[in-house]
């Protein structure tokens, strides 16, 4: 049962055309909103991931500094002798690195350029400032005679 003449129902037809620009405007606003939200969310998330990675890097550094298997028994400094025989697997199990993190750790003697290297090699595409958390500190390396030498400990952590 139609009430009134459908040909006179101009409101329905006119109403649709009135609403079209309004709908377009709303769609535009919502699109701008979601695009901006996405563009802000992505860097924020990346920054948060980076901060978590930086914290992980400090954790690894602290863990290495407290690993008795590589410390000289007398003075708690890093022993060159023990670094020489340290097995990769033992260090990895000591670090207990969870998640999809990868690492490499290097000890470098500053006087004789001797290097002890543990962990994964850095790939070229990963070797960018943004993808890696690095921590470099001077350390004392003790040789077999008990003489202390200045060295460098470098810890790199990144997502594998």
């Amino acid at each position: 049962m139609l009430r009134g003449n459908i040909k006179e129902d101009q409101k329905a037809v006119g109403g649709f055309f009135f609403d079209t620009p309004v709908l377009l405007l709303i769609i535009l606003v919502v699109m701008v909103f979601t695009t901006s939200l996405y563009q802000v969310y992505v860097p924020i998330q990346e920054e948060k991931d980076r901060m978590a990675q930086d914290r992980k890097c400090i954790e690894v550094k602290n863990s290495v500094q407290n690993y008795h298997q590589i410390l000289d028994e007398e003075n708690e400094k890093f022993s060159m002798e023990k670094l020489e025989v340290l097995e990769e697997e033992r260090l990895r199990s000591h670090l207990k690195l969870e998640g999809d993190y990868d690492y490499n750790i290097s000890f470098e003697g500053l006087e004789d350029d001797e290097v002890w290297y543990f962990g994964q090699n850095l790939q070229n595409d990963e070797n960018s400032e943004s993808g890696i958390s690095s921590y470099r500190i001077p350390v004392s390396l003790v040789d077999e005679a008990g003489i202390s030498h200045l060295g460098k400990l470098e810890v790199n952590v990144w997502r594998g």
């Binding site: 606003v29 909103f33 802000v40 924020i44 921590y135 500190i137």
Partner: protein
């Protein structure tokens, strides 16, 4: 009558547009406020983390530097008519700092005694330069004092006193004992 109806419909259309525009403005304002909050919180978190990194680093640098051995250094004794070179071999940086402060104190307080400590000061700075600047890539300043003797050195030429240091810095203070006096040795680092 037709004209009135058309006018009414036009007004409805304009009102809807105004509603939509208001909706858009409100959404954009809310968006700006949310982003501002996010951004501010993130910046604060980032700053906190940077300072945590610096705090860790300054302690590590200070401890390693103090343990470091200076293979050969020395100073000039200018007290006698003929200046005499004093050689110090395999001394720790801690000992070098103590010697510097004590000899400088004597130079200032005993008229007959005078020392040129340039080499000793240079070798102390060299160790800190290796530890802080070359290895960890931080700028540094070291400050210590004993009575009226003072030691202040930095890799940045413009920094001569503690007041010149940037506000975003980390510090680590270790104490050494000179005679019976406790002497603070403070290391500052910044990027």
């Amino acid at each position: 009558m037709e004209r009135l109806k058309k006018k009414k419909k036009d007004e409805q259309g304009v009102l809807s547009m105004i509603d939509a525009a208001l909706f858009g403005i409100i959404i954009l304002v809310v968006m700006l406020l949310v982003f501002q909050q996010f951004g501010g919180a993130l910046t604060r978190e980032r700053d906190l983390e940077s300072s945590e990194f610096r705090r860790e680093a300054v302690h590590d640098i200070q401890m390693t530097a103090l343990d470091s051995i200076i293979e050969e250094t020395g100073y000039m004794n200018l007290s006698e008519s003929q200046p005499k070179s004093i050689r110090l071999v395999n001394i720790t940086l801690e000992r070098a700092v103590k010697d510097y402060l004590y000899l400088d104190y004597i130079s200032q307080n005993k008229e007959k005694l005078s020392y040129d400590l340039t080499r000793l000061e240079g070798d102390i700075e060299k160790i800190y330069r290796i530890c802080a600047r070359d290895v960890s890539r931080y700028n540094f300043a070291l400050e210590s004092s004993y009575e009226n003797s003072e030691l202040f050195l930095s890799n940045v030429q413009e920094i001569d006193t503690e007041e010149d240091l940037p506000s975003e810095r980390a510090a680590s203070t270790e104490y050494i004992v000179l005679g019976t006096t406790r002497v603070d040795l403070t290391l500052y680092i910044w990027r």
